[in-house]
């Protein structure tokens, strides 16, 4: 008795099983059929059995094709949805990046400032919030902007000795871009002279207090009202010119013709005599700055008609060189010389027809990685407000100290000052400490 074992696909399994079983039944009749008949029947059965997978295969392929087509449609729908999602994400990112709020003055106005608190030891023994400064700047257009600076000094301003402070408007000027390399300015601005006069935020210089030369001779911080032009080029040379209000030094008393006493701070300032300032600066070699300023004022006493006048000329030169000797160490050297030449017999009689000062300041700075930066410096300075006479009135000072920057905008300072005053003047060695910041 023959019966056939074939492998069936699962589908349609039940139907095939029935066929096989019925074939088994029929073929098992065995002796009732002739061998030849059996062979024919077997062949037919074989043919039938083989055609069943083919039939099943064709049916499956059709279903598979339908499935593929269905999936293809789903893919197309998903692709379209993905494109829409991409567009939405792009729009969202652009909105976040550029800011979705409507633009107003706040987008064009910036706030900044700096401040410092000092302790002066020795015989002075005082602690003082020396200054707090607020800058408010505004961009009117791409080429016109405002810079302003208001300062509070010594904590408390008012009448009386217990209110030693001042409230001052140090800057309020408009800058105009005339071209890529030419700018103009008008208003109250800081004069282009010296090193500290324009750049004096606490983290930018060494020393708890500003050096005596720039304080007494320049005299920093020195600002006036007027107009100016700046020309800067790719050669590294920068020229500044300014026409502005002048000094008004007293011509009597203990402070007669002392330059620092001539600052009017544009506070209802006498404007009979303007002054002109010109500076040539070179920064075309990275790390190097060389500059020279000349200023002339026809009469620094702002004398009335008919009174004696005293013209004055200031010449100042300075150099700064900073070089990275390794990724974590830089060396720096600053040197400055300034001198006033004041005409007139009155100034000459007091020895104040010449007022001169200079200093030199080498320093080294180490980058401590995430801990910050640490710098050490030594400064030797000499200044004399009565250099025109034969009496030795020069004040010399040696200062050694350090600056520690835990953050690039914050500085902790400590130094020791050893002055060498003229004979007959008491010496006041002092330890000083301070904290400064800018933002």
């Amino acid at each position: 008795m023959g019966w056939f074992n074939v492998e069936f696909v699962e589908f349609p399994k039940i139907r095939l099983e029935r066929i096989v079983n019925s074939m088994k039944c029929r073929l098992n009749t065995g002796d009732l059929l002739a061998p030849q008949t059996k062979r024919v029947l077997a062949g037919l059965a074989t043919l039938l059995i083989c055609s069943i997978p083919l039939a099943t295969n064709a049916q499956t392929q059709k279903e598979m094709w339908q499935t593929i087509q269905k999936q293809q449609r789903q893919i197309e729908v998903l692709q379209k949805a993905q494109k829409n999602t991409d567009k939405s994400v792009e729009a969202t990112a652009a909105a976040v990046q550029e800011g979705s709020a409507s633009s107003g003055w706040w987008n064009k106005t910036s706030l900044g400032g700096y401040g410092e608190v000092h302790y002066n030891g020795g015989d002075t023994d005082k602690v003082d919030i020396h200054r707090f400064v607020l800058n408010v700047n505004h961009q009117f257009s791409d080429s016109v902007r405002l810079y302003s600076e208001v300062e509070i000094e010594h904590g408390l301003a008012g009448d009386g000795e217990d209110k030693p402070g001042e409230v001052e408007m140090e800057q309020a000027w408009i800058e105009f871009d005339l071209s890529d390399e030419v700018k103009a300015r008008a208003g109250v601005f800081i004069l282009p002279v010296g090193i500290l006069n324009e750049t004096h935020e606490p983290p930018t210089f060494y020393g708890v207090e500003r050096n005596n030369v720039e304080k007494n001779i320049i005299p920093s911080t020195w600002w006036e009202a007027g107009a100016g032009l700046s020309f800067g080029g790719s050669s590294g040379f920068l020229v500044d010119l300014a026409l502005h209000s002048g000094l008004d030094v007293p011509n009597t008393g203990s402070s007669a013709f002392k330059i620092r006493k001539g600052r009017q701070k544009v506070a209802e300032a006498t404007a009979r005599e303007p002054a002109v300032t010109a500076r040539l600066k070179y920064t075309g070699t990275p790390g190097l700055e060389l500059a020279s300023t000349v200023q002339y004022q026809y009469d620094i006493t702002q004398a009335d008609e008919g009174d004696t006048r005293s013209s004055a000329t200031l010449i100042e030169v300075h150099g700064i060189y900073t070089h990275q000797i390794s990724p974590s160490t830089s060396l720096s050297l600053r040197a400055l010389y300034a001198t006033w030449d004041i005409d007139g017999s009155a100034a000459k009689a007091l020895g104040r027809d010449e007022q001169t000062g200079w200093y030199i300041e080498p320093s080294v700075k180490f980058n401590l990685g995430d801990t910050g930066d640490l710098g050490f410096y030594l400064r030797y300075s000499a200044d004399d407000n009565t250099a025109g006479d034969a009496i030795d009135s020069e004040v010399r000072e040696t200062v050694v100290g350090l600056n520690y920057w835990p953050h690039k905008h914050v500085v902790l300072k400590a130094d020791y000052s050893v002055p060498a005053p003229p004979a007959g003047t008491a010496r006041n060695d002092m330890f000083r400490a301070g904290v400064g910041f800018q933002f």
Binding site: N137, S234, L238, Y298
Partner: protein, 195 residues
């Protein structure tokens, strides 16, 4: 001759004319250095637009921009480099083989400085200040300063592979450019990883 006339005007003028003569001297002296046409009063501080920069860098054959999304890890490194949280959610860049171009911004003292940077095979090929908005420190945009960045790579601590000499009075702008250079070098590596 001009200077002589200017001096005479200033020093010989009657007292009450001196402010006027001072102004004349100032205007004449300034004209010795430049002629300022009225039409230039509206000039801006865009030295090169980002679009022109990219066209120059890719010689007119500008590739389509790609995007790097600022994930947590990327933000963490950018904060380490710049010291601040990096604004925005993504950074656009342009890439051709191993060369990428970036338009990045960083605050100098008060205002952002817009800079174009090109990195080629993990080295800085070009750094150019496109828009400078500060009142001081504009020396940083000139080649005598920016040429120092050419050829620099990134250290394992995300710093520049060589030191940069700064410009006195422009320390914050110098630091901003150094940050931008390091950011571009770091992003270049990330951009090529993503590819």
């Amino acid at each position: 001759m001009k200077f002589l006339i200017e001096s005479i005007l200033f020093f010989r003028a009657p007292r009450n004319w001196r402010p006027v003569s001072s102004l004349l001297v100032f205007l004449l002296f300034s004209n010795t250095f430049c002629f300022i046409p009225v039409s230039s009063l509206a000039a801006d501080k865009t030295y090169l637009s980002p679009k022109k920069f990219l066209k120059t860098v890719f010689k007119g054959d500008l590739p389509k921009p790609d995007v790097l999304w600022l994930d947590t890890q990327l933000r963490s490194v950018l904060k380490k480099i710049t010291g601040n949280r990096y604004p925005g959610v993504r950074i656009r860049f342009w890439k051709k083989s191993n060369r990428t171009a970036w338009i990045l911004e960083e605050i100098g003292k008060y205002e952002p400085i817009t800079v174009g940077v090109v990195i080629n095979n993990r080295k800085l090929e070009l750094l150019k200040v496109l828009i400078y908005r500060e009142s001081h420190g504009w020396e940083v945009r000139h080649p005598f300063f920016t040429n120092q960045f050419i050829g620099l790579g990134l250290t394992s601590q995300f710093g520049l592979s060589s030191s940069i000499d700064g410009i006195s009075g422009a320390t914050l702008s110098v630091n901003a450019l150094k940050s931008i250079a390091a950011v571009a070098l770091f992003l270049h590596d990330r951009a090529l990883e993503v590819e």
